[in-house]
C-alpha cells in the first residue's frame, strides 16, 4: 500500500461525502465557468453588434464642417501603406412613400464594387447591388436614364411593415423630387441593414448623389487598415496627408457611445466574473474544509505516527486534484457546449433590441 492509496480508499469509503464534495466543486466551477462563458458570449455579442453597425472600417475621413466633399480630396490616403482600402459612401435622410405609408429613412449610397470591404450585406431574398445597377452619369443625363427606377436594397422586416415585396416599386422623396425605387433585394437585420434600426435604403452611389443633388460628393470615406496596423499611428499618418477642411476620425458609430458602452459592459462583466470566482472558490473551499474537518482525527493520528506536514499537505493536494479533475470533467463538456449557444442568443437579443416590436 502506498500512502496515496489511503486517499483513494478514503474517497471510496464514503461515497456520499465524496459525491457531495465533487458536487460542491462542480457547483463552484460551474458558477465560474457559466459566468465566464456568459461574459465571453456577451462580450462577443456586443463586439459583433458594433462591428456590424460600424463595419470593418477603423477610421473614416469626413469634412470638418460635416458637409459633403469630393472624395478625390482624400485620394492621397489610399497610397499610405497602413490603408488597405478607402470606401466612399454618402448617407442622407429622406422619406419613403408607398401607398399611404410614409416612413423616414436613411439613404445609404454605396459603391457596390468596394463597399463589401467595410460592411456586410446578408441577403434574404433577391440580389445585391452590382456594377450593372449603377447607372453612370452619362446615362443619367438622358431623359430615359434619369427616369429609370433606382435599384434599392431594403431590410426585410422594414419592407414588410411598408407592404413592400421583392420587385415592388416605392417612391423616395428627395430634394430633386420624387424618385422611383425598385426593391432589388431584401436584407437580414445584420451588417449595414442595422443602421437606423433597419429603416435604411441602400442605393448605388452615383444615383444617390444625383438624386440628392450631390454629384461627385460623399460625406464619408471609410478606411480599412492593413492587418496589424496601429489605429492611432495610422490616424496620425492619414491626418498629415489630408487637405485642410478634412479630418480623420474613428467611425462615428464605433466611437463615443459605442466605445463607452463596450467599456461599461466589459467592466460590469469583469466584476461579475470576479464575483463568481470568489463565490466559486468559497464554495469549493468550504466543501473541502468540511471534508478535511471530518478526517481531522485521522490526519492527526498520521502526524503522531510520523507523517510530516508536507506529506499530509501532498496527500490532501493529491485528493484535491483527484476530486477537482472529477468535478471539472463533469462541468467542462456542458460548459463548452453552452459556450456555443451563449453568444448567438446574446447577439440576436442585443442586435434586435430597438426595432423588436416589428
Amino acid at each position: 500500500m502506498r500512502l496515496w492509496a489511503y486517499t483513494v480508499r478514503e474517497l471510496w469509503r464514503r461515497p456520499g461525502r465524496t459525491v457531495l464534495t465533487v458536487l460542491g466543486i462542480v457547483i463552484g466551477v460551474a458558477a465560474v465557468v457559466s459566468v465566464s462563458l456568459a461574459s465571453a458570449g456577451a462580450r462577443d455579442a456586443f463586439s459583433n453588434m458594433f462591428d456590424q453597425v460600424a463595419g470593418r472600417a477603423a477610421l473614416e475621413v469626413v469634412a470638418q464642417a460635416r458637409t459633403p466633399f469630393d472624395p478625390a480630396q482624400a485620394q492621397a490616403v489610399e497610397s499610405l501603406p497602413e490603408v488597405e482600402a478607402a470606401v466612399p459612401a454618402i448617407s442622407v435622410q429622406a422619406a419613403l412613400l408607398h401607398g399611404q405609408e410614409r416612413s423616414p429613412v436613411l439613404v445609404l449610397g454605396i459603391d457596390p464594387r468596394v463597399d463589401g470591404l467595410v460592411r456586410d450585406y446578408v441577403l434574404r431574398e433577391g440580389a445585391l447591388l452590382s456594377d450593372e445597377t449603377e447607372v453612370k452619369a452619362d446615362d443619367l443625363s438622358d431623359e430615359a436614364g434619369a427616369g429609370a427606377p433606382v435599384e434599392a436594397l431594403l431590410e426585410a422586416g422594414f419592407a414588410r411593415t411598408l407592404g413592400l415585396a421583392l420587385g415592388d416599386e416605392a417612391r423616395l422623396l428627395t430634394p430633386t423630387g420624387l424618385a422611383t425605387l425598385r426593391v432589388r433585394g431584401l436584407l437580414a437585420l445584420r451588417g449595414a441593414a442595422v443602421f437606423n434600426n433597419g429603416a435604411v435604403v441602400v442605393l448605388p452611389l452615383e444615383r444617390t448623389q444625383r438624386l440628392f443633388d450631390q454629384e461627385g460628393r460623399v460625406n464619408t470615406v471609410q478606411l480599412v487598415l492593413a492587418d496589424g496596423a496601429d489605429v492611432v499611428a495610422a490616424q496620425e499618418r492619414v491626418a498629415r496627408v489630408l487637405p485642410p477642411g478634412l479630418i480623420v476620425q474613428r467611425p462615428a458609430s464605433r466611437g463615443g457611445l459605442a466605445d463607452e458602452t463596450l467599456a461599461n459592459t466589459e467592466l460590469g462583466l469583469s466584476a461579475l466574473s470576479a464575483l463568481a470566482l470568489v463565490a466559486g472558490a468559497f464554495i469549493i473551499l468550504n466543501t473541502f474544509l468540511m471534508n478535511v474537518g471530518e478526517r481531522r482525527r485521522q490526519l492527526a493520528v498520521m502526524r503522531a505516527l510520523g507523517a510530516t506536514r508536507r506529506q499530509i499537505t501532498r496527500l490532501l493536494l493529491r485528493e484535491a486534484i483527484l476530486l477537482g479533475s472529477g468535478g471539472r470533467s463533469w462541468v467542462w463538456p456542458p460548459g463548452r457546449g453552452s459556450r456555443r449557444y451563449s453568444s448567438d442568443p446574446c447577439r440576436v437579443w442585443w442586435a434586435l433590441t430597438p426595432p423588436a416590436s416589428r
Binding site: 505516527l305 510520523g306 510530516t308 506536514r309
Partner: protein, 258 residues
C-alpha cells in the same frame, strides 16, 4: 521539582531512554492561564516500564505529549535517546517521532479504511519503506502481539482488545526507543485490559522495550516497574514497584494523595 529515578540497572544501557529537565507547560495566558506542569524532572532508563498516575488535571497527558514531541514545553527540555527535542525543527521532530517513538492510544486510533496489517505497516509506509518489506515487518509485529490471524480485517471487524493489540503492533513496528501509552486499557473491559497489560509487560521483559504509560487504572499501573504520581503539575510521589505492589495498595496510596 522532583525526579523519578526509575532505574533498573540490570537492563538497558547507560543513556536514559527519556530525560525531562524542569518541564513546565502553561496553556492560555493572563487570568485564564492554566499551569499544567510546574517543573517535572524525569529520567527513564532503557528497558523500564514506567506508569504515570494522578487525578484528572494533574498533568499526566501533558507530560506524555511533551515527551512524545506532540507539544512544546513552556520551559525545560526533553531528551529522547539523548536527543534534545527543543533543538529540533518540526520536520526533524516528526522524523524522531516516526522512528524512535511508538504511540498507543486509549481509543486505538486505527485508520478504519486500512486493514489491520496495513495499519501496522503505516508508520513504515510513511517512512518510505518498500511495500514488501513494510508488509513483512508488519506481519512480524502482529505475530509478536498474537494478532497475526486478523491481519486482513478492518478495525471495525475487530474487538477492542484486538484493536489495541494491532495498535501495540503498530507502535512496535519501527522498533522504537520508547513506547508512549495513553490509557491503553481505558477503553477495554478488565479481562481484555489485563491481556493488553500482560502483552506490554512481556515486551519489556523479553525485548527490553521502554514504556511510559499514563493510566487511571491501578491494575494496569501495578504491572509497571515504577510508578510516578502527579498532582497539580508536580511529581507528588515516585516509587519502584517491581511487581511487589498490588493494585489495591496502589489505589489506596492514590486515594491518600487526593
Amino acid at each position: 521539582m522532583c525526579a523519578a529515578s526509575t532505574a533498573r540497572p540490570a537492563k538497558g544501557s547507560v543513556t536514559p531512554a527519556v530525560e525531562a529537565q524542569g518541564l513546565t507547560k502553561a496553556f492560555g495566558s493572563g487570568p485564564t492561564e492554566v499551569q499544567a506542569l510546574r517543573g517535572v524532572d524525569l529520567s527513564l532508563r532503557q528497558g523500564v516500564f514506567l506508569a504515570v498516575m494522578g487525578p484528572s488535571g494533574s498533568g499526566k497527558s501533558t507530560l506524555l505529549h511533551l515527551v512524545g514531541g506532540l507539544t512544546k514545553p513552556t520551559s525545560g527540555k526533553v531528551l529522547v535517546g539523548g536527543q534534545d527535542l527543543s533543538a529540533l525543527n518540526d520536520d526533524a521532530l516528526t522524523l524522531l517521532r516516526r522512528r524512535r517513538i511508538g504511540f498507543v492510544f486509549q481509543f486505538f486510533n486505527l485508520l478504519p479504511i486500512l486493514t489491520a496489517l496495513e495499519n501496522v505497516a503505516l508508520p513504515l509506509i510513511i517512512d518510505g519503506v518498500r511495500e514488501a518489506e513494510a508488509t513483512q515487518r508488519a506481519a512480524a509485529a502482529m505475530e509478536l502481539v498474537g494478532i497475526a490471524h486478523r491481519r486482513g480485517h478492518r478495525p471495525g471487524k475487530l474487538s477492542g482488545g484486538e484493536q489495541q493489540r494491532v495498535a501495540v503492533a503498530r507502535a512496535l513496528v519501527t522498533e522504537p526507543v520508547l513506547i508512549l501509552a495513553d490509557e491503553p486499557t481505558g477503553n477495554l473491559d478488565s479481562t481484555t485490559g489485563d491481556q493488553v497489560m500482560a502483552l506490554l509487560r512481556r515486551l519489556v521483559d523479553e525485548r527490553g522495550q521502554t514504556i511510559l504509560m499514563v493510566t487511571h487504572d491501578p491494575r494496569a499501573a501495578a504491572m509497571a516497574d515504577s510508578l510516578l504520581t502527579l498532582k497539580d503539575g508536580f511529581v507528588a510521589h515516585e516509587q519502584r514497584l517491581d511487581g511487589g505492589r498490588s493494585a489495591g495498595e496502589i489505589l489506596r496510596e492514590l486515594e491518600g494523595l487526593s
